[in-house]
Amino acid sequence: MSGVQSIIEMIKKKVTEKEDRIIRDAKKLRETKLLDARKKGEAKKAAMMAEAEIKSRADSVKRDANARLAARHKILEAKEALITEVLELAIESLTKKHKTKGYADMLVGFAIEGGSVLAVEEVELMLPKGQSPQLDLTKISREITKHTGIKTRVSLSKEKIRSAGGVLVRSKDGTKWVDNTFEARRDRTMSEMRKLISSILFENIGTPI
């Protein structure tokens, strides 16, 4: 009986060992796999964070650049409004000049300048509606003739123009003209004028964005 008993005990012992090994291996594999999964999970979490950071930074850079651009635009608009205001004030100031004594002298200068550019024998001066300053046409003729070497006759046109001031100088036949109205002179010198206004208004003001 003791022989049989020892065989049975041996079988039990072996089966216990095998049973333990199977369970132990399964548990060990589980631990390894779970650890691996946790690592992968953390890596994925870190990757998601990094991706969010990159996206956020790129977005931030883009939006900062847009904000800077918008700010420059806003400052330029503010400056532009001030420049426009100065231009309007200047024209307003010139408009009042046609009632002053010096206005006729100024028109004489504009007429001589325009007539000299035209260099024709007969020149007509067109004045703005509602303005009839006393112009020394003889003086104008003489000065144009002196500048061009062409004997020039100057007359006042009955036609009137729409302008705040100045004079439109044209050849009698109407084929050539020099527009010396305030508006035309302003438009021709706009670029220079804007630079001039900017240099006066904005010099040493504000810090760059």
Binding site: K18, R30, K44, M49, A67, V86, E113, I200
Partner: protein, 106 residues
């Protein structure tokens, strides 16, 4: 005890052993199955955590950026106010210069 009875005892012991091994293998199989389920849960949970953390980071960065932009806007408004204020005294001179330019040569 007769020999047949001994053999029967050993056979029963062997059968019991086989049953225990089968049970252990079933248990191991169950463990593996449960492990796969747990792995999926871990991945899902960490992904959700990652998503949440990324969202928090994005919100933090956006808040910082918005604060930076507000500060910047204040600076811009200050510059504009400075320009407008300083130009008040300079405007008459600018108007005069423009008038002179229009009246004088181009």
């Amino acid at each position: 005890m007769p020999e047949a009875q001994y053999i029967d005892l050993i056979r029963k012991a062997e059968e019991a052993a086989e049953d225990r091994i089968r049970a252990a293998e079933d248990s191991a199989r169950e463990t593996r199955k449960q492990t796969e389920i747990d792995i999926k849960k871990i991945m899902k949970r960490t992904e959700a955590k990652g998503k949440k953390a990324a969202e928090v980071r994005l919100n933090e960065n956006e808040a910082k950026r918005a604060a930076r932009e507000r500060k910047f806007q204040k600076k811009v408004d200050r510059i504009i106010a400075q320009i407008q204020e300083a130009s008040k005294d300079r405007k008459p001179a600018a108007v005069h210069a423009v008038v002179e330019m229009l009246l004088g040569g181009e």
